[in-house]
Symmetry: C2
Subunit: 476 residues, 2 copies
């Protein structure tokens, strides 16, 4: 290389470096002014212990693990209910399901013969964000009413692609089995997509029935990526609600048989793959510094499904229960340059997303009703302690347990699906969840003051509680 | 800036950049030629679920988590026994304790009135590495014989600083309690260092008695850092065997009361802090690319200690048991530029360190005895499948269970400390640990071929097994 060329190249490289720096700065400040996009990735029946970053030894969720390294990994994050329909209602409205009638003592969730759904007068996160011009999509499982008036496109979503209720529904075979529902899940019929007459919908139309469940996760992931690509110029809210790893378990051919954990692992790793695709698409379109992505699940693992159910890790019990395994979930927040990376042991809930996103998008909260969410912003962006100190654990329309700070009081306990029988506790059972996350050591006797504080909190909670009309009871 | 100066600066920056690159390359190749240092950090009674990177919600092990991100996080890593003395013998000799008499049906570990220790004809990892000029130190708990002939300085270590047996020993109070040993652990006496008459030794001298247990972890960490600093010019092997979180739990004032998890968390976070200090010291001295650091623990959590025992996460049972919680441990390998970062679901054991380190240091294995270790190199450096496919789970001198690939057969089961009573199984119980890490679903009936393979493996194992003379039985 001649000396002259060397000097020219050096100047050139220096100039390019400076320009790149300036461009980066421009982009950064530009990015910070633009409205934020929100992506909520919601799994179904995934347990606290089902990601490698949350301790699973053989499910390898490499994209979620990387997301946790780059973002915040929450370890005390809760859903609004231990079963599907009420949990989704809580997420989308920022309200306890007891307030909007989406939890019932008669039916725990909506069924294909249910009459109702999420009431129209509820404000969903999608409706909230549409007030300020967001494009909104629901991709995946809905389960908040399958009649047209209750479908996503009538609840604030511009676009819907998915199944209207659980992937095991619209199917009389399990209930007709000689040994009942549980025995059905050991039969070969569970592996046939034709056993489940679940419809796949686009907006309000059924486009496939039965849905080809083998490729649902793959198609949801593709639809999610496409929605991001199509809306890169506008602010958007994407609600990607996978219907797996809820049984029946299906994976596309690229994932089937690839995980050490068996079909359950295949399924979780395909969801994880989609997370990688989504984050890559955001980066590709320069949206990563301008988007908050949250990953969590609707409730704990369905333990009665044995090997085809997940794991709550060190937490007690699973789906259907008000023990921690039923309602505490893995939760990862991602937003490079905004979310402060690290482990967060503060308390948060899915209902807080409604409040947090509303604030970030500058949409006032509805002022004619109680909103249960709190703003997670201080924790997400400044690593401050969470505003939230309490969690209410409802089962049906009854308050079974309450967490206040480190302590959780169980007023009622009951097996998730079967024994042990319902039992009321007075004084309540009391666990220090920070010291004893597995709820093994009842410390009620030495903490009567804490019990009094929790009882006062319950009294306050009940004093202004307006129970919504039961939307789940009418069927057939 | 004038144009000339600008050009000069550009050339200069370009030249500096090139020189830096060259220097890095030099250092790299230089580093790769130097002998490797080895650091083994060994916790005591730490459970599979007790690090945040292995799923604990309130113990924040930020240094170990970072080490796991930079290194390899193993999820199927085992110790040689579910209790202290035999587990340490296995680590240091690369041999199953049954071969060297360090496991017994009479006493599960060595006690302060035990007569014997690790036989002199055993070759320790320290003796092995000394053959090629390594400097060696044992800092922390020994528990392989407290009489002078058995102490670390007579087993290949140039230097020893620590306690010769468990930190709850040399103490008659627990055994004199009206309600026995377990009840003692609820008394206030457990919080007084004077309750435990454990000696602190430097080489073969007692330097403090009772040891001030409040500051032991802190002092071990400091000694470890000092040893690295003093030996930065020579190859070294550092065996840092913390005596915590084995009860009684003590933390120095910087950590006491700081963890959400209570005293158990304080203790683990102080050990984690030391890990950070050690990695920082290696980096500061340019030894990071030239050192392999391994973190693991001797056995699972001591569950009968309630809140002061740890958690095995999703694994079944804990210390003292041949269920997974007793013998599977968190294990992190670190060696920037050498160890390929990522999650490893392959099988490894502490005994493999003997073989792996011997190979890396070019020391031939002893050829007059059976060595149970395998070389982990292909997995550590090339992410290849592990050579090891099997694990033997001994309790005392009996083989209770065997893992082969994904499957584990239990021939005998027994409560860790108390019920359920010992029970023999023929056919054995069989679990698929990859699909069912919690050992909940016995799949023996549908896998008779696997049971046959495991029985053949046991037959082969027994065919050339020479049991060592019981070193633990003589006491008093």
């Amino acid at each position: 290389m001649s000396k002259n060329i060397f000097i020219i190249l050096s100047v050139l490289s220096f100039t390019i470096a400076c320009t790149e720096q300036q461009t980066e700065k421009d982009q950064e400040s530009k990015g910070k002014d633009k409205p934020l996009n929100f992506v909520v990735i919601f799994a179904d029946d995934l347990g606290y212990g089902d990601l490698s970053s949350y301790g699973h030894p053989t499910i390898h969720t490499k994209n979620l693990d990387q997301m946790a390294v780059e973002g915040q990994k929450w370890t005390n994050f809760y859903v609004g209910s231990s079963v599907c329909t009420p949990s989704r209602a809580a997420l989308l409205t920022g309200r306890l399901p007891i307030r909007n009638g989406m939890t019932s003592r008669v039916n725990r969730v909506l069924f294909p013969d249910s009459h109702n759904g999420l009431p129209q007068n509820e404000v969903t996160m999608a409706e909230q964000l549409k007030k300020v011009g967001y494009r909104t999509a629901c991709i995946g499982k809905w389960h908040l009413g399958h009649k047209e008036e209750y479908l996503p496109t009538n609840q604030g979503f511009d676009y819907y692609f998915g199944i209207p209720y659980s992937n095991d529904m619209d199917n009389i075979i399990p209930f007709r089995s000689a040994h009942g529902y549980i025995d059905f899940w050991k039969s070969e019929e569970r592996k046939d997509i034709n056993t489940f007459n679940v419809p796949l919908m686009r907006n309000t139309e059924i486009v496939e029935r039965p849905a080809d469940q083998n490729t649902l996760t793959k198609r949801y992931n593709e639809e999610a990526v496409q929605f991001i690509r199509q809306n890169k110029e506008k602010p958007f809210f994407l609600y990607l609600a996978h219907n797996l790893p809820h049984v029946p378990l299906f994976a596309s051919k690229d994932f089937l048989g690839t995980s050490n954990r068996g079909i359950y692992g295949d399924v979780v790793e395909e969801i994880d793959h989609g997370v990688g695709q989504i984050l890559a698409e955001l980066k590709k379109n320069g949206l990563d510094e301008n988007t908050i992505v949250v990953f969590t699940s609707d409730n704990g693992p369905w333990l009665i499904m044995n090997e085809e159910g997940g794991s709550a890790g060190l937490l007690r019990e699973g789906k259907g229960s008000t023990w921690e395994g039923g309602m505490r979930e893995p939760c990862i927040f991602w937003g490079p340059g905004r979310i402060q990376p690290g482990l967060v042991t503060q308390i948060g809930t899915t209902m807080d997303l409604f409040t947090t996103f509303s604030k970030l998008a500058n949409v006032p909260l509805p002022d004619d009703r109680k909103i249960d969410g709190t703003d997670l912003g201080p924790t997400l962006f400044e690593k401050m302690p969470s505003i939230r100190k309490e969690v209410f654990y409802y089962r049906g329309d009854e308050l079974y347990a309450v967490r206040l700070g480190a302590f959780k009081a169980h007023f009622i306990t009951e097996g998730a699906y079967g024994p042990p029988a319902r039992e009321e506790h007075n004084p309540p059972l009391l666990y220090n969840l920070e010291v004893d996350p597995s709820e093994k050591f009842n410390v009620a006797d030495s903490n009567l003051d804490i019990i009094e504080q929790i009882q006062a909190l319950v009294k306050k909670h009940n004093s202004d509680l307006v129970k919504g009309k039961d939307q789940l009871k009418d069927r057939g």
